[in-house]
Subunit: 333 residues, 2 copies
Protein backbone atom coordinates (compact mmCIF):
# COMPACT_ATOMS: atom_id res chain seq x y z
CA UNK A 1 0.00 0.00 0.00
CA UNK A 2 1.42 3.36 -1.01
CA UNK A 3 2.08 6.15 1.48
CA UNK A 4 -0.46 8.38 -0.18
CA UNK A 5 -3.18 5.79 0.35
CA UNK A 6 -2.37 5.28 4.02
CA UNK A 7 -2.62 9.05 4.58
CA UNK A 8 -6.11 9.22 3.09
CA UNK A 9 -8.63 8.75 5.92
CA UNK A 10 -10.79 5.64 5.40
CA UNK A 11 -14.47 5.71 6.40
CA UNK A 12 -14.83 2.45 8.33
CA UNK A 13 -18.27 0.82 7.93
CA UNK A 14 -20.44 2.37 10.62
CA UNK A 15 -23.94 2.28 12.01
CA UNK A 16 -26.36 4.85 13.37
CA UNK A 17 -29.24 4.71 15.80
CA UNK A 18 -32.39 6.78 15.38
CA UNK A 19 -34.48 7.27 18.51
CA UNK A 20 -38.17 8.21 18.82
CA UNK A 21 -39.07 9.21 22.37
CA UNK A 22 -42.84 9.23 22.79
CA UNK A 23 -45.13 9.83 25.72
CA UNK A 24 -45.97 6.11 25.88
CA UNK A 25 -43.36 4.26 23.81
CA UNK A 26 -39.65 4.45 23.08
CA UNK A 27 -38.58 3.19 19.66
CA UNK A 28 -35.07 2.71 18.29
CA UNK A 29 -33.78 1.68 14.89
CA UNK A 30 -30.27 0.67 13.87
CA UNK A 31 -29.37 1.81 10.36
CA UNK A 32 -26.32 1.63 8.13
CA UNK A 33 -24.70 4.73 6.64
CA UNK A 34 -26.93 4.42 3.56
CA UNK A 35 -29.87 5.04 5.92
CA UNK A 36 -31.28 1.51 5.60
CA UNK A 37 -32.80 0.11 8.80
CA UNK A 38 -31.04 -3.09 9.95
CA UNK A 39 -33.02 -3.82 13.12
CA UNK A 40 -35.53 -2.28 15.52
CA UNK A 41 -36.18 -2.23 19.25
CA UNK A 42 -38.98 -0.71 21.30
CA UNK A 43 -40.33 -0.62 24.84
CA UNK A 44 -42.97 1.12 26.89
CA UNK A 45 -41.91 4.15 28.93
CA UNK A 46 -44.74 3.81 31.48
CA UNK A 47 -43.19 4.42 34.89
CA UNK A 48 -39.81 5.39 33.37
CA UNK A 49 -40.33 8.94 32.14
CA UNK A 50 -37.50 10.85 33.83
CA UNK A 51 -34.74 11.81 31.39
CA UNK A 52 -32.26 9.61 33.28
CA UNK A 53 -34.58 6.59 33.04
CA UNK A 54 -35.23 7.23 29.32
CA UNK A 55 -31.51 7.56 28.54
CA UNK A 56 -30.88 4.35 30.49
CA UNK A 57 -33.56 2.59 28.39
CA UNK A 58 -31.95 4.00 25.22
CA UNK A 59 -28.55 2.59 26.25
CA UNK A 60 -30.18 -0.81 26.86
CA UNK A 61 -31.92 -0.61 23.50
CA UNK A 62 -28.70 0.17 21.64
CA UNK A 63 -26.95 -2.77 23.35
CA UNK A 64 -29.80 -5.01 22.18
CA UNK A 65 -29.70 -3.66 18.62
CA UNK A 66 -25.93 -4.13 18.30
CA UNK A 67 -26.14 -7.64 19.78
CA UNK A 68 -28.93 -8.61 17.33
CA UNK A 69 -26.69 -7.46 14.47
CA UNK A 70 -23.52 -9.04 15.96
CA UNK A 71 -21.80 -5.65 15.99
CA UNK A 72 -19.31 -4.26 18.52
CA UNK A 73 -20.10 -0.94 20.25
CA UNK A 74 -17.33 0.65 18.17
CA UNK A 75 -19.50 0.16 15.07
CA UNK A 76 -21.87 2.84 16.43
CA UNK A 77 -20.94 6.22 14.90
CA UNK A 78 -23.78 8.60 15.80
CA UNK A 79 -27.24 8.74 17.36
CA UNK A 80 -30.14 11.20 17.05
CA UNK A 81 -33.32 11.47 19.07
CA UNK A 82 -36.69 13.15 18.63
CA UNK A 83 -38.52 14.27 21.75
CA UNK A 84 -42.12 15.50 21.99
CA UNK A 85 -41.21 19.00 23.11
CA UNK A 86 -39.70 22.36 22.24
CA UNK A 87 -36.02 21.72 21.65
CA UNK A 88 -33.03 24.00 21.27
CA UNK A 89 -31.10 22.14 18.59
CA UNK A 90 -28.02 24.36 19.00
CA UNK A 91 -27.52 23.55 22.68
CA UNK A 92 -29.16 20.13 22.47
CA UNK A 93 -31.55 20.96 25.30
CA UNK A 94 -35.21 19.90 25.43
CA UNK A 95 -36.75 23.07 26.84
CA UNK A 96 -40.21 21.73 27.68
CA UNK A 97 -42.35 18.70 26.85
CA UNK A 98 -46.04 17.98 27.42
CA UNK A 99 -47.24 16.65 30.76
CA UNK A 100 -46.76 13.02 29.56
CA UNK A 101 -43.00 13.30 30.00
CA UNK A 102 -42.97 16.49 32.07
CA UNK A 103 -39.40 17.46 31.10
CA UNK A 104 -37.96 20.94 31.66
CA UNK A 105 -34.53 22.00 30.34
CA UNK A 106 -33.16 18.51 29.82
CA UNK A 107 -29.64 18.51 28.22
CA UNK A 108 -30.59 15.47 26.16
CA UNK A 109 -27.73 15.69 23.65
CA UNK A 110 -25.11 15.70 26.42
CA UNK A 111 -26.85 12.85 28.22
CA UNK A 112 -26.90 10.79 25.00
CA UNK A 113 -23.26 11.52 24.17
CA UNK A 114 -22.21 10.52 27.69
CA UNK A 115 -24.29 7.33 27.56
CA UNK A 116 -23.13 6.28 24.08
CA UNK A 117 -19.69 7.82 23.58
CA UNK A 118 -20.64 8.97 20.06
CA UNK A 119 -21.89 12.26 18.57
CA UNK A 120 -25.58 12.87 19.23
CA UNK A 121 -28.22 15.29 17.99
CA UNK A 122 -31.74 16.05 19.22
CA UNK A 123 -34.80 17.76 17.80
CA UNK A 124 -38.54 18.06 18.24
CA UNK A 125 -40.28 14.85 17.10
CA UNK A 126 -42.58 16.53 14.57
CA UNK A 127 -39.63 18.41 13.07
CA UNK A 128 -37.85 15.06 12.66
CA UNK A 129 -40.93 13.59 10.99
CA UNK A 130 -40.93 16.56 8.58
CA UNK A 131 -37.22 15.93 7.91
CA UNK A 132 -37.98 12.26 7.24
CA UNK A 133 -40.79 13.07 4.76
CA UNK A 134 -38.52 15.63 3.12
CA UNK A 135 -35.53 13.31 2.66
CA UNK A 136 -37.20 9.93 2.05
CA UNK A 137 -40.97 10.39 2.19
CA UNK A 138 -43.92 12.24 0.69
CA UNK A 139 -42.18 15.59 0.07
CA UNK A 140 -38.92 14.64 -1.60
CA UNK A 141 -39.86 16.80 -4.59
CA UNK A 142 -40.80 19.91 -2.57
CA UNK A 143 -38.36 22.29 -0.87
CA UNK A 144 -41.34 24.05 0.77
CA UNK A 145 -43.93 22.07 2.70
CA UNK A 146 -45.50 21.62 6.10
CA UNK A 147 -45.78 18.27 7.88
CA UNK A 148 -48.83 18.31 10.10
CA UNK A 149 -49.06 15.55 12.70
CA UNK A 150 -52.30 14.60 14.42
CA UNK A 151 -51.79 12.05 17.15
CA UNK A 152 -52.86 12.57 20.75
CA UNK A 153 -52.29 16.27 20.05
CA UNK A 154 -51.27 18.25 16.96
CA UNK A 155 -48.10 19.95 15.74
CA UNK A 156 -46.43 21.07 12.53
CA UNK A 157 -42.90 20.88 11.16
CA UNK A 158 -42.20 23.60 8.59
CA UNK A 159 -39.66 23.17 5.79
CA UNK A 160 -38.75 26.28 3.74
CA UNK A 161 -36.04 26.11 1.10
CA UNK A 162 -35.34 22.55 2.21
CA UNK A 163 -34.57 23.57 5.81
CA UNK A 164 -36.55 23.44 9.04
CA UNK A 165 -37.97 26.80 10.12
CA UNK A 166 -37.22 27.02 13.85
CA UNK A 167 -38.69 30.26 15.13
CA UNK A 168 -37.05 32.66 17.54
CA UNK A 169 -37.51 30.37 20.55
CA UNK A 170 -37.60 26.98 18.77
CA UNK A 171 -41.39 26.83 18.80
CA UNK A 172 -42.39 27.39 15.15
CA UNK A 173 -45.35 25.23 14.10
CA UNK A 174 -46.93 24.89 17.56
CA UNK A 175 -50.34 25.40 15.99
CA UNK A 176 -52.43 23.67 18.67
CA UNK A 177 -53.25 27.14 20.00
CA UNK A 178 -54.43 28.49 16.64
CA UNK A 179 -57.72 30.40 16.65
CA UNK A 180 -60.13 29.38 13.92
CA UNK A 181 -63.91 29.71 13.44
CA UNK A 182 -65.74 26.95 15.27
CA UNK A 183 -63.07 26.43 17.95
CA UNK A 184 -63.17 28.14 21.36
CA UNK A 185 -61.88 31.72 21.37
CA UNK A 186 -61.13 32.09 25.05
CA UNK A 187 -57.58 32.09 26.47
CA UNK A 188 -56.36 28.68 27.63
CA UNK A 189 -54.53 27.92 30.87
CA UNK A 190 -50.82 27.20 30.54
CA UNK A 191 -50.17 23.48 30.04
CA UNK A 192 -53.72 22.80 28.79
CA UNK A 193 -54.29 21.81 25.13
CA UNK A 194 -54.84 24.78 22.82
CA UNK A 195 -58.25 25.56 21.28
CA UNK A 196 -57.48 23.87 17.95
CA UNK A 197 -55.80 20.86 19.57
CA UNK A 198 -58.82 20.51 21.88
CA UNK A 199 -61.00 20.07 18.78
CA UNK A 200 -58.88 18.12 16.26
CA UNK A 201 -56.10 16.41 18.24
CA UNK A 202 -56.77 12.72 18.94
CA UNK A 203 -57.81 13.44 22.53
CA UNK A 204 -59.80 16.47 21.38
CA UNK A 205 -61.73 14.35 18.87
CA UNK A 206 -62.56 11.84 21.64
CA UNK A 207 -63.77 14.60 23.90
CA UNK A 208 -65.92 16.14 21.10
CA UNK A 209 -67.33 12.66 20.52
CA UNK A 210 -68.18 12.17 24.18
CA UNK A 211 -69.93 15.54 24.35
CA UNK A 212 -72.22 14.65 21.43
CA UNK A 213 -72.59 10.92 22.17
CA UNK A 214 -76.10 9.44 22.48
CA UNK A 215 -76.76 5.71 22.13
CA UNK A 216 -79.53 6.52 19.64
CA UNK A 217 -77.17 8.44 17.34
CA UNK A 218 -74.43 5.85 16.87
CA UNK A 219 -73.58 2.19 17.17
CA UNK A 220 -70.14 3.06 18.63
CA UNK A 221 -69.51 3.14 22.38
CA UNK A 222 -69.05 6.34 24.42
CA UNK A 223 -65.31 5.70 24.78
CA UNK A 224 -64.49 5.21 21.06
CA UNK A 225 -61.18 6.67 19.89
CA UNK A 226 -60.54 8.90 16.87
CA UNK A 227 -59.53 6.05 14.55
CA UNK A 228 -62.62 4.01 15.46
CA UNK A 229 -64.79 7.09 14.91
CA UNK A 230 -63.31 7.73 11.45
CA UNK A 231 -63.64 4.04 10.56
CA UNK A 232 -67.32 4.19 11.52
CA UNK A 233 -67.80 7.41 9.50
CA UNK A 234 -66.63 5.53 6.41
CA UNK A 235 -69.36 2.97 7.10
CA UNK A 236 -72.05 5.64 7.40
CA UNK A 237 -72.41 6.04 11.19
CA UNK A 238 -74.22 9.41 11.48
CA UNK A 239 -72.59 10.75 14.65
CA UNK A 240 -69.17 9.60 13.47
CA UNK A 241 -69.78 11.46 10.19
CA UNK A 242 -70.65 14.63 12.12
CA UNK A 243 -67.37 14.43 14.06
CA UNK A 244 -65.39 13.65 10.89
CA UNK A 245 -66.87 16.64 9.06
CA UNK A 246 -66.23 18.98 12.00
CA UNK A 247 -62.62 17.78 12.30
CA UNK A 248 -62.04 18.13 8.55
CA UNK A 249 -63.50 21.64 8.45
CA UNK A 250 -61.32 22.89 11.32
CA UNK A 251 -58.25 21.15 9.92
CA UNK A 252 -58.93 22.83 6.57
CA UNK A 253 -59.08 26.24 8.31
CA UNK A 254 -55.76 25.55 10.04
CA UNK A 255 -54.09 24.43 6.80
CA UNK A 256 -55.37 27.52 4.98
CA UNK A 257 -54.14 29.84 7.74
CA UNK A 258 -50.68 28.26 7.76
CA UNK A 259 -50.51 28.39 3.97
CA UNK A 260 -51.52 32.09 3.93
CA UNK A 261 -48.67 32.98 6.26
CA UNK A 262 -45.99 30.89 4.57
CA UNK A 263 -47.38 30.66 1.00
CA UNK A 264 -46.68 26.96 1.27
CA UNK A 265 -48.00 24.77 -1.58
CA UNK A 266 -47.92 21.34 0.06
CA UNK A 267 -49.04 19.75 3.32
CA UNK A 268 -48.21 16.22 4.39
CA UNK A 269 -50.64 14.78 6.94
CA UNK A 270 -49.17 12.35 9.44
CA UNK A 271 -49.57 10.99 12.94
CA UNK A 272 -51.75 8.09 14.06
CA UNK A 273 -54.99 10.05 13.53
CA UNK A 274 -53.76 12.31 10.71
CA UNK A 275 -53.08 9.43 8.31
CA UNK A 276 -56.67 8.16 8.41
CA UNK A 277 -57.93 8.10 4.78
CA UNK A 278 -61.40 9.36 5.79
CA UNK A 279 -59.87 12.50 7.32
CA UNK A 280 -57.59 13.11 4.34
CA UNK A 281 -60.51 12.76 1.96
CA UNK A 282 -62.91 14.99 3.90
CA UNK A 283 -60.22 17.65 4.41
CA UNK A 284 -59.32 17.60 0.72
CA UNK A 285 -62.98 18.22 -0.18
CA UNK A 286 -63.07 21.19 2.22
CA UNK A 287 -59.86 22.60 0.73
CA UNK A 288 -61.31 22.40 -2.77
CA UNK A 289 -64.20 24.65 -1.74
CA UNK A 290 -61.68 27.22 -0.50
CA UNK A 291 -58.99 26.93 -3.12
CA UNK A 292 -57.99 30.46 -4.08
CA UNK A 293 -55.15 31.82 -6.17
CA UNK A 294 -52.76 29.26 -4.74
CA UNK A 295 -54.35 25.85 -4.31
CA UNK A 296 -53.11 23.86 -1.34
CA UNK A 297 -52.03 20.30 -2.07
CA UNK A 298 -52.56 17.61 0.57
CA UNK A 299 -50.74 14.27 0.74
CA UNK A 300 -50.71 11.48 3.29
CA UNK A 301 -47.46 10.69 5.04
CA UNK A 302 -45.50 8.00 3.20
CA UNK A 303 -43.43 7.03 6.23
CA UNK A 304 -46.50 6.83 8.54
CA UNK A 305 -45.55 5.56 12.01
CA UNK A 306 -41.88 5.52 10.95
CA UNK A 307 -41.66 9.22 10.06
CA UNK A 308 -40.00 10.35 13.32
CA UNK A 309 -37.65 7.37 13.39
CA UNK A 310 -36.63 7.87 9.74
CA UNK A 311 -36.10 11.57 10.44
CA UNK A 312 -33.93 10.67 13.43
CA UNK A 313 -31.82 8.42 11.18
CA UNK A 314 -31.46 11.30 8.66
CA UNK A 315 -30.38 13.61 11.49
CA UNK A 316 -27.89 11.04 12.81
CA UNK A 317 -26.46 10.72 9.27
CA UNK A 318 -26.15 14.52 8.98
CA UNK A 319 -24.48 14.61 12.40
CA UNK A 320 -22.02 11.93 11.36
CA UNK A 321 -21.15 13.75 8.12
CA UNK A 322 -20.75 17.08 9.93
CA UNK A 323 -18.41 15.56 12.53
CA UNK A 324 -16.66 13.56 9.85
CA UNK A 325 -15.77 16.61 7.74
CA UNK A 326 -14.80 18.39 10.96
CA UNK A 327 -12.56 15.41 11.81
CA UNK A 328 -10.94 15.43 8.39
CA UNK A 329 -10.00 19.07 8.74
CA UNK A 330 -8.25 18.20 12.00
CA UNK A 331 -6.08 15.54 10.36
CA UNK A 332 -2.38 16.43 10.04
CA UNK A 333 -1.31 17.03 6.44
CA UNK B 1 -1.22 59.79 -9.36
CA UNK B 2 0.30 56.33 -9.32
CA UNK B 3 -0.72 53.64 -11.76
CA UNK B 4 -2.06 51.52 -8.90
CA UNK B 5 -4.39 54.34 -7.82
CA UNK B 6 -5.78 54.90 -11.31
CA UNK B 7 -6.56 51.19 -11.57
CA UNK B 8 -8.58 51.20 -8.35
CA UNK B 9 -12.22 51.91 -9.22
CA UNK B 10 -13.54 55.05 -7.57
CA UNK B 11 -17.13 55.17 -6.28
CA UNK B 12 -18.35 58.48 -7.70
CA UNK B 13 -20.93 60.24 -5.49
CA UNK B 14 -24.26 58.87 -6.56
CA UNK B 15 -27.96 59.11 -5.85
CA UNK B 16 -30.83 56.68 -5.63
CA UNK B 17 -34.57 56.96 -6.10
CA UNK B 18 -37.07 55.02 -3.99
CA UNK B 19 -40.55 54.66 -5.48
CA UNK B 20 -43.82 53.88 -3.71
CA UNK B 21 -46.58 52.94 -6.18
CA UNK B 22 -49.96 53.10 -4.48
CA UNK B 23 -53.50 52.63 -5.68
CA UNK B 24 -54.14 56.38 -5.41
CA UNK B 25 -50.74 58.08 -5.12
CA UNK B 26 -47.25 57.73 -6.52
CA UNK B 27 -44.43 58.92 -4.27
CA UNK B 28 -40.73 59.24 -5.03
CA UNK B 29 -37.75 60.18 -2.89
CA UNK B 30 -34.22 61.01 -3.97
CA UNK B 31 -31.59 59.80 -1.50
CA UNK B 32 -27.82 59.82 -1.29
CA UNK B 33 -25.80 56.64 -0.89
CA UNK B 34 -25.96 57.03 2.89
CA UNK B 35 -29.73 56.53 2.52
CA UNK B 36 -30.60 60.12 3.53
CA UNK B 37 -33.55 61.63 1.65
CA UNK B 38 -32.58 64.75 -0.31
CA UNK B 39 -35.92 65.61 -1.91
CA UNK B 40 -39.39 64.22 -2.52
CA UNK B 41 -41.98 64.24 -5.30
CA UNK B 42 -45.49 62.85 -5.48
CA UNK B 43 -48.56 62.85 -7.69
CA UNK B 44 -51.96 61.25 -7.97
CA UNK B 45 -52.31 58.20 -10.21
CA UNK B 46 -56.04 58.70 -10.81
CA UNK B 47 -56.63 58.05 -14.50
CA UNK B 48 -53.01 56.91 -15.05
CA UNK B 49 -52.93 53.40 -13.70
CA UNK B 50 -51.55 51.38 -16.62
CA UNK B 51 -47.98 50.28 -16.08
CA UNK B 52 -46.83 52.39 -19.05
CA UNK B 53 -48.51 55.49 -17.61
CA UNK B 54 -47.05 54.86 -14.14
CA UNK B 55 -43.54 54.36 -15.51
CA UNK B 56 -43.92 57.57 -17.53
CA UNK B 57 -44.96 59.39 -14.33
CA UNK B 58 -41.94 57.89 -12.53
CA UNK B 59 -39.60 59.16 -15.27
CA UNK B 60 -41.17 62.64 -14.93
CA UNK B 61 -40.78 62.47 -11.16
CA UNK B 62 -37.10 61.53 -11.34
CA UNK B 63 -36.45 64.43 -13.77
CA UNK B 64 -38.10 66.77 -11.27
CA UNK B 65 -36.14 65.39 -8.32
CA UNK B 66 -32.79 65.66 -10.10
CA UNK B 67 -33.62 69.20 -11.28
CA UNK B 68 -34.57 70.26 -7.71
CA UNK B 69 -31.19 68.99 -6.52
CA UNK B 70 -29.29 70.44 -9.52
CA UNK B 71 -28.00 66.99 -10.43
CA UNK B 72 -27.36 65.51 -13.91
CA UNK B 73 -29.11 62.26 -14.87
CA UNK B 74 -25.72 60.53 -14.61
CA UNK B 75 -25.82 61.08 -10.84
CA UNK B 76 -28.65 58.52 -10.65
CA UNK B 77 -27.20 55.09 -9.84
CA UNK B 78 -30.16 52.84 -9.02
CA UNK B 79 -33.92 52.86 -8.43
CA UNK B 80 -36.26 50.53 -6.57
CA UNK B 81 -40.06 50.42 -6.52
CA UNK B 82 -42.70 48.88 -4.30
CA UNK B 83 -45.99 47.88 -5.90
CA UNK B 84 -49.18 46.79 -4.14
CA UNK B 85 -49.18 43.27 -5.51
CA UNK B 86 -47.57 39.85 -5.58
CA UNK B 87 -44.14 40.33 -7.09
CA UNK B 88 -41.52 37.92 -8.38
CA UNK B 89 -38.38 39.68 -7.21
CA UNK B 90 -36.11 37.32 -9.19
CA UNK B 91 -37.66 38.15 -12.57
CA UNK B 92 -38.77 41.66 -11.55
CA UNK B 93 -42.36 40.95 -12.60
CA UNK B 94 -45.44 42.16 -10.72
CA UNK B 95 -47.64 39.06 -11.02
CA UNK B 96 -50.92 40.55 -9.84
CA UNK B 97 -52.15 43.68 -8.03
CA UNK B 98 -55.51 44.55 -6.49
CA UNK B 99 -58.28 45.95 -8.65
CA UNK B 100 -57.08 49.54 -7.98
CA UNK B 101 -54.19 49.11 -10.39
CA UNK B 102 -55.41 45.94 -12.08
CA UNK B 103 -51.95 44.84 -13.22
CA UNK B 104 -51.19 41.29 -14.44
CA UNK B 105 -47.64 40.08 -15.17
CA UNK B 106 -46.05 43.52 -15.55
CA UNK B 107 -42.24 43.34 -16.12
CA UNK B 108 -41.78 46.40 -13.92
CA UNK B 109 -38.04 46.02 -13.37
CA UNK B 110 -37.35 45.94 -17.12
CA UNK B 111 -39.68 48.89 -17.72
CA UNK B 112 -37.88 50.91 -15.02
CA UNK B 113 -34.40 50.00 -16.30
CA UNK B 114 -35.39 51.00 -19.83
CA UNK B 115 -36.93 54.28 -18.62
CA UNK B 116 -34.02 55.24 -16.35
CA UNK B 117 -30.94 53.55 -17.78
CA UNK B 118 -29.87 52.41 -14.30
CA UNK B 119 -30.24 49.14 -12.34
CA UNK B 120 -33.71 48.71 -10.86
CA UNK B 121 -35.35 46.38 -8.36
CA UNK B 122 -38.99 45.79 -7.45
CA UNK B 123 -40.86 44.20 -4.57
CA UNK B 124 -44.23 44.06 -2.90
CA UNK B 125 -44.95 47.32 -1.03
CA UNK B 126 -45.58 45.71 2.36
CA UNK B 127 -42.37 43.69 2.03
CA UNK B 128 -40.52 46.96 1.36
CA UNK B 129 -42.12 48.55 4.42
CA UNK B 130 -40.93 45.56 6.47
CA UNK B 131 -37.44 46.02 5.02
CA UNK B 132 -37.55 49.72 5.95
CA UNK B 133 -38.58 48.99 9.57
CA UNK B 134 -35.89 46.31 9.73
CA UNK B 135 -33.05 48.51 8.47
CA UNK B 136 -33.97 51.94 9.84
CA UNK B 137 -37.21 51.65 11.80
CA UNK B 138 -38.94 49.90 14.68
CA UNK B 139 -37.30 46.47 14.29
CA UNK B 140 -33.61 47.28 13.90
CA UNK B 141 -32.86 45.11 16.96
CA UNK B 142 -34.86 42.09 15.81
CA UNK B 143 -33.85 39.61 13.07
CA UNK B 144 -37.31 37.99 13.34
CA UNK B 145 -40.44 40.10 13.11
CA UNK B 146 -43.61 40.65 11.11
CA UNK B 147 -44.68 44.03 9.73
CA UNK B 148 -48.46 44.13 9.55
CA UNK B 149 -49.93 46.93 7.46
CA UNK B 150 -53.55 48.03 7.78
CA UNK B 151 -54.52 50.61 5.17
CA UNK B 152 -57.40 50.15 2.77
CA UNK B 153 -56.69 46.43 3.08
CA UNK B 154 -54.22 44.39 5.14
CA UNK B 155 -50.97 42.54 4.45
CA UNK B 156 -47.88 41.31 6.24
CA UNK B 157 -44.16 41.35 5.46
CA UNK B 158 -42.28 38.57 7.26
CA UNK B 159 -38.61 38.86 8.21
CA UNK B 160 -36.85 35.71 9.47
CA UNK B 161 -33.13 35.71 10.20
CA UNK B 162 -32.99 39.28 8.85
CA UNK B 163 -34.36 38.28 5.43
CA UNK B 164 -37.78 38.50 3.80
CA UNK B 165 -39.69 35.23 3.70
CA UNK B 166 -41.12 35.02 0.16
CA UNK B 167 -43.18 31.85 -0.07
CA UNK B 168 -43.22 29.41 -2.94
CA UNK B 169 -45.16 31.75 -5.25
CA UNK B 170 -44.13 35.13 -3.77
CA UNK B 171 -47.30 35.45 -1.69
CA UNK B 172 -46.17 34.86 1.90
CA UNK B 173 -47.96 37.13 4.38
CA UNK B 174 -51.18 37.56 2.34
CA UNK B 175 -53.20 37.18 5.53
CA UNK B 176 -56.34 39.02 4.40
CA UNK B 177 -57.88 35.60 3.78
CA UNK B 178 -57.09 34.27 7.25
CA UNK B 179 -59.93 32.50 9.06
CA UNK B 180 -60.41 33.59 12.67
CA UNK B 181 -63.32 33.39 15.13
CA UNK B 182 -65.73 36.26 14.57
CA UNK B 183 -64.95 36.70 10.87
CA UNK B 184 -66.95 35.03 8.08
CA UNK B 185 -66.03 31.41 7.41
CA UNK B 186 -67.42 31.04 3.92
CA UNK B 187 -65.23 30.90 0.80
CA UNK B 188 -64.73 34.27 -0.89
CA UNK B 189 -64.90 34.99 -4.62
CA UNK B 190 -61.60 35.55 -6.38
CA UNK B 191 -60.66 39.23 -6.37
CA UNK B 192 -62.90 40.06 -3.38
CA UNK B 193 -61.35 41.04 -0.03
CA UNK B 194 -60.67 38.07 2.24
CA UNK B 195 -62.71 37.40 5.42
CA UNK B 196 -60.18 39.02 7.77
CA UNK B 197 -59.55 41.98 5.46
CA UNK B 198 -63.31 42.46 5.17
CA UNK B 199 -63.43 42.97 8.95
CA UNK B 200 -60.21 44.81 9.89
CA UNK B 201 -58.89 46.42 6.69
CA UNK B 202 -59.68 50.14 6.42
CA UNK B 203 -62.54 49.50 4.00
CA UNK B 204 -63.70 46.54 6.09
CA UNK B 205 -63.86 48.70 9.22
CA UNK B 206 -65.97 51.27 7.31
CA UNK B 207 -68.32 48.59 6.14
CA UNK B 208 -68.65 47.12 9.66
CA UNK B 209 -69.39 50.65 10.89
CA UNK B 210 -72.07 51.19 8.28
CA UNK B 211 -73.76 47.90 9.13
CA UNK B 212 -74.03 48.85 12.83
CA UNK B 213 -74.61 52.60 12.35
CA UNK B 214 -77.65 54.23 14.01
CA UNK B 215 -77.86 57.98 14.60
CA UNK B 216 -78.84 57.26 18.23
CA UNK B 217 -75.68 55.20 18.87
CA UNK B 218 -73.04 57.68 17.73
CA UNK B 219 -72.34 61.31 16.97
CA UNK B 220 -70.31 60.32 13.88
CA UNK B 221 -71.83 60.25 10.39
CA UNK B 222 -72.70 57.08 8.49
CA UNK B 223 -69.75 57.57 6.12
CA UNK B 224 -67.01 57.98 8.77
CA UNK B 225 -63.64 56.37 7.95
CA UNK B 226 -61.56 54.08 10.17
CA UNK B 227 -59.34 56.86 11.53
CA UNK B 228 -62.33 59.02 12.43
CA UNK B 229 -63.97 56.03 14.12
CA UNK B 230 -60.87 55.29 16.22
CA UNK B 231 -60.50 58.99 17.10
CA UNK B 232 -64.13 58.99 18.30
CA UNK B 233 -63.54 55.77 20.28
CA UNK B 234 -60.79 57.55 22.22
CA UNK B 235 -63.35 60.25 23.11
CA UNK B 236 -65.87 57.68 24.37
CA UNK B 237 -68.26 57.35 21.40
CA UNK B 238 -70.07 54.06 22.18
CA UNK B 239 -70.50 52.69 18.64
CA UNK B 240 -66.94 53.68 17.76
CA UNK B 241 -65.73 51.81 20.85
CA UNK B 242 -67.65 48.71 19.76
CA UNK B 243 -65.97 48.81 16.34
CA UNK B 244 -62.54 49.46 17.88
CA UNK B 245 -62.90 46.50 20.27
CA UNK B 246 -64.07 44.19 17.48
CA UNK B 247 -61.16 45.24 15.24
CA UNK B 248 -58.63 44.83 18.06
CA UNK B 249 -59.94 41.38 18.98
CA UNK B 250 -59.74 40.09 15.42
CA UNK B 251 -56.34 41.68 14.88
CA UNK B 252 -55.14 39.99 18.10
CA UNK B 253 -56.35 36.62 16.77
CA UNK B 254 -54.50 37.18 13.49
CA UNK B 255 -51.28 38.20 15.28
CA UNK B 256 -51.49 35.14 17.53
CA UNK B 257 -52.05 32.81 14.57
CA UNK B 258 -49.10 34.25 12.64
CA UNK B 259 -46.89 34.06 15.74
CA UNK B 260 -47.87 30.41 16.37
CA UNK B 261 -46.80 29.43 12.87
CA UNK B 262 -43.54 31.40 12.79
CA UNK B 263 -42.75 31.63 16.52
CA UNK B 264 -42.16 35.31 15.89
CA UNK B 265 -41.62 37.51 18.96
CA UNK B 266 -42.32 40.97 17.50
CA UNK B 267 -44.98 42.63 15.37
CA UNK B 268 -44.72 46.13 13.97
CA UNK B 269 -48.08 47.70 13.14
CA UNK B 270 -48.13 50.11 10.21
CA UNK B 271 -50.31 51.53 7.49
CA UNK B 272 -52.64 54.52 7.71
CA UNK B 273 -55.13 52.68 9.94
CA UNK B 274 -52.65 50.34 11.67
CA UNK B 275 -50.65 53.16 13.27
CA UNK B 276 -53.66 54.56 15.14
CA UNK B 277 -52.74 54.62 18.87
CA UNK B 278 -56.25 53.52 19.93
CA UNK B 279 -55.94 50.34 17.85
CA UNK B 280 -52.43 49.60 19.11
CA UNK B 281 -53.55 50.04 22.70
CA UNK B 282 -56.70 47.94 22.42
CA UNK B 283 -54.85 45.18 20.54
CA UNK B 284 -52.07 45.16 23.14
CA UNK B 285 -54.66 44.67 25.91
CA UNK B 286 -56.17 41.73 23.99
CA UNK B 287 -52.73 40.18 23.50
CA UNK B 288 -52.00 40.39 27.22
CA UNK B 289 -55.08 38.26 27.97
CA UNK B 290 -53.76 35.63 25.59
CA UNK B 291 -50.05 35.76 26.26
CA UNK B 292 -48.86 32.18 26.60
CA UNK B 293 -45.41 30.70 26.81
CA UNK B 294 -44.08 33.18 24.27
CA UNK B 295 -45.53 36.66 24.74
CA UNK B 296 -45.99 38.63 21.55
CA UNK B 297 -44.55 42.14 21.52
CA UNK B 298 -46.33 44.87 19.57
CA UNK B 299 -44.76 48.13 18.38
CA UNK B 300 -46.02 50.96 16.19
CA UNK B 301 -44.24 51.63 12.93
CA UNK B 302 -41.48 54.22 13.38
CA UNK B 303 -41.35 55.14 9.70
CA UNK B 304 -45.17 55.49 9.42
CA UNK B 305 -46.21 56.75 5.97
CA UNK B 306 -42.55 56.64 4.87
CA UNK B 307 -42.04 52.91 5.55
CA UNK B 308 -42.48 51.75 1.93
CA UNK B 309 -40.43 54.64 0.55
CA UNK B 310 -37.60 54.05 3.04
CA UNK B 311 -37.69 50.35 2.24
CA UNK B 312 -37.46 51.17 -1.47
CA UNK B 313 -34.38 53.30 -0.78
CA UNK B 314 -32.82 50.40 1.19
CA UNK B 315 -33.55 48.08 -1.75
CA UNK B 316 -32.07 50.57 -4.25
CA UNK B 317 -28.94 50.76 -2.07
CA UNK B 318 -28.67 46.96 -1.93
CA UNK B 319 -29.15 46.83 -5.72
CA UNK B 320 -26.40 49.39 -6.22
CA UNK B 321 -24.00 47.50 -3.94
CA UNK B 322 -24.79 44.17 -5.64
CA UNK B 323 -24.17 45.61 -9.12
CA UNK B 324 -21.15 47.50 -7.86
CA UNK B 325 -19.41 44.39 -6.54
CA UNK B 326 -20.44 42.61 -9.73
CA UNK B 327 -18.89 45.46 -11.72
CA UNK B 328 -15.66 45.33 -9.74
CA UNK B 329 -15.26 41.64 -10.44
CA UNK B 330 -15.52 42.44 -14.15
CA UNK B 331 -12.60 44.92 -14.06
CA UNK B 332 -9.45 43.72 -15.88
CA UNK B 333 -6.58 42.93 -13.52
Amino acid sequence: MSKVETMKPQLEPGYLVGIDIGGTNLRLALANTAGAIVSRWSTTVAGHRSSEAIVHLIRTGIENLLRQASLPWSALKAVAAGAPGITNVDSGVVIVTSYLLGWRDVPLRNLLETATGVPAAVDNDVNLAALGESRMGAAQDSPDFVFLAIGTGIGAGIITNGKLLRGSSWAAGEIGYMLVPGAPDEPVERGKPGPLEGMIGGEGIRSQWQQLWKSTATSLPHDANATQIFDAALKGDPLAQTILQQTARLLCYALLNVSLVLNCPLFVLGGGVGIHPALLDATQRNLERWSGRTPVQLRPSVLAADAQLRGAICLALETLHARDSQGRMDLPL
